[in-house]
């Protein structure tokens, strides 16, 4: 059924992505692909994987943005521009437009936990759901002709054969910087809910009315370079002490 669940889900599981912490290493991208190409549904195919024009289906991608404050300079090191690495996977929206447009019933939102999934046996590969998603979270598997998207690693998070610590999405488990967190947003005491409150978690494109479950934590405020007290100045040796003061004096004398 491509109508959305009428009752609010008892659980609202999803991800918190910390933009302050993400270093843009793409580890989650690779592990997401690795996990999902071997598990649920058709493999995530690549086209011309060894050619010049390689492309393929990925469920998670990292974009990198440069954010320039008003009056800031563009060049990263010299000005106040910030580089923000931006991981993006399905946000498991509460008002998921990708679900309601689906003509076949392949796309659906689970009533019990809010995960948005594609039943690949029903999907005709019309691509309309990818048009309806504002975030670009759905990609066609060109080889299988079916739509692919983040499953919130449904085959890990409920997998009782896994140790507790591994019952989280592959991207969360693999992130070396701990930039991705998994949990239940319906529970106000969960880690993810608390993080969102503490850090002012945000929705992407609120104007699209999708009410995403996943939240993003904005980068923490940063001291402007110009205001930093101790800039490492290569020319100034006035504060040198001990051995360095001696070395400074000796070198001056030579």
């Amino acid at each position: 059924m491509t109508s959305l669940p009428s009752l609010p889900a008892p659980k609202k599981i999803g991800l918190v992505i910390d933009l302050d912490v993400c270093v843009g290493c793409h580890a989650c991208v690779v592990n997401c692909k690795e996990w999902n190409t071997g598990g649920y549904g058709a493999a995530l195919s690549d086209q011309q994987p060894y050619g010049a024009d390689v492309s393929g289906a990925w469920l998670n991608r990292i974009h990198t943005f440069e954010v320039v404050p008003q009056g800031g300079e563009i060049v990263g090191e010299a000005g106040d521009a910030r580089i923000v690495h931006f991981p993006k996977s399905c946000l498991h929206c509460e008002e998921a437009p990708c679900v309601t447009v689906c003509p076949t019933g392949a796309s659906y939102k689970r009533a019990e936990d809010g995960i948005v999934l594609v039943d690949e046996d029903k999907c005709i590969g019309c691509g309309l759901c990818a048009w309806a998603c504002p975030y670009g979270a759905r990609e066609m598997d060109v080889a299988a002709g079916v739509m692919k998207k983040c499953t919130l690693c449904i085959d890990r998070i409920y997998n009782e054969t896994f140790e507790e610590v591994d019952r989280v999405p592959a991207c969360v488990r693999t992130c070396p910087a701990n930039a991705r967190h998994f949990g239940d947003f319906a529970d106000p005491t969960s880690d993810v809910s608390r993080m969102v409150v503490a850090r002012g978690g945000i929705d992407l494109m609120p104007e699209q009315g999708t009410r995403p479950v996943n939240k993003y934590l904005p980068p923490r405020p940063r001291t402007a370079l110009a205001d930093m007290a101790s800039l490492p100045l290569a020319e100034n040796t006035a504060g040198a002490k001990g051995f360095f003061a001696w070395l400074d004096g000796m070198l001056d004398r030579i």
């Binding site: 943005f65 404050p69 005709i124």
Partner: protein, 306 residues
């Protein structure tokens, strides 16, 4: 958006087919005449051909029947259901005209109403998408229906000229509908030109509170499904030229030809004028549809620097 030839062909062909069916249903042509019988067949061929072409871009066409199941929420599903259901009255009407040489008013009217509804559903697939702001307006289905009716009247005038009846009635209707269609399209285009996108790289990333957001690096060096499908962009100077071509072929040429038809004398002149009008309109409409897709910007491009 990527202007897929299969979808352009589908919307143009089925729009013309339904338009012609509507004009036939309104009794614009004489059911006894051979030309009218051909018109009935052509309308069904255009509709059927369009539907087949629309399945060409599916990843799994053999499961297409499943698309009939979600009419409660999906405009694509509604369109599929309506398209199939509309075949029933249209085929019956065609059969009556072909073998009995007569109309059935009730049947024709049902067919005409359902045909309008089907074109409406097709357009609503696009108009319902908030992600493509240019399409997200009631003017989109209005344009689709108006172009379908105008095209149908033009074809009806042509078949009337070929012996299906008095061509001046359909030609006058075509002139009027053509004017309405292009006026609607002009309003649509004005809205698009004036559109200030609510979705920006700042809202897409949530980083607007820090400053201006600019893409530094895409996720991968090469293109992907999203940039193929939604990243298509047509140079503005070409878009302006193509718009002129669309208006020239789709509005001015048929308009002039219809005036010649209405004022001129002689079968050869009338037939030539009607044929030219139809030909120009179809060409213009193909360009208009190509631009409809090619010029549309999808919100996902905020993540891809486009």
């Amino acid at each position: 958006m990527h202007p897929a030839p299969s979808i352009i062909l589908f919307t143009v062909a089925s729009g013309l087919g339904y338009g012609l069916a509507i004009m036939l249903g309104l009794g614009l042509l004489d059911p006894q005449a051979l030309a009218t019988k051909v018109a009935h067949v052509l309308s069904l061929v255009l509709i059927g051909g369009g539907l087949v072409s629309s399945t060409l871009h599916l990843g799994n066409p053999r499961r297409a029947w499943r698309a009939l199941s979600q009419w409660r929420s999906s405009w694509l599903s509604r369109e599929g259901v309506m398209a199939l259901a509309t075949f029933v009255p249209l085929t019956l009407s065609a059969t009556l005209a072909l073998f009995a040489g007569r109309h059935s008013l009730a049947l024709d009217l049902v067919g005409a109403v359902m045909a309008v509804a089907t074109v409406w559903c097709t357009a609503m697939i696009y108009a319902s998408l908030r992600t493509i702001e240019a399409w997200h307006t009631p003017l989109t289905p209005a344009c689709y229906v108006a172009f379908s009716l105008a095209g149908g009247a033009l074809l009806a005038a042509f078949f009337a000229a070929l012996g299906g009846g008095e061509p001046r009635g359909p030609a006058l209707a075509a002139l009027l509908l053509l004017g309405i269609a292009w006026a609607t399209k002009r309003a649509w285009k004005r809205r698009v030109t004036a559109l200030v996108s609510a979705t920006t790289p700042e809202t897409a990333t949530g980083l607007g509170s820090i400053g201006k957001v600019r893409l530094l690096e895409r996720p991968h060096m090469t293109e992907n499904y999203l940039t193929h499908e939604m990243g298509f962009r047509v140079a503005r100077k070409h878009a302006a030229k193509l718009w002129l071509i669309a208006v020239g072929f789709g509005a001015l040429l048929p308009g002039t030809a219809l005036v010649v038809l209405l004022t001129g004398q002689g079968d050869a002149l009338v037939i030539t004028a009607a044929a030219l009008a139809c030909l120009g309109f179809v060409l213009g409409l193909l360009v208009e549809r190509w631009l409809f897709f090619a010029e549309a910007r999808h919100t996902v491009m905020n993540y891809y620097g486009g």
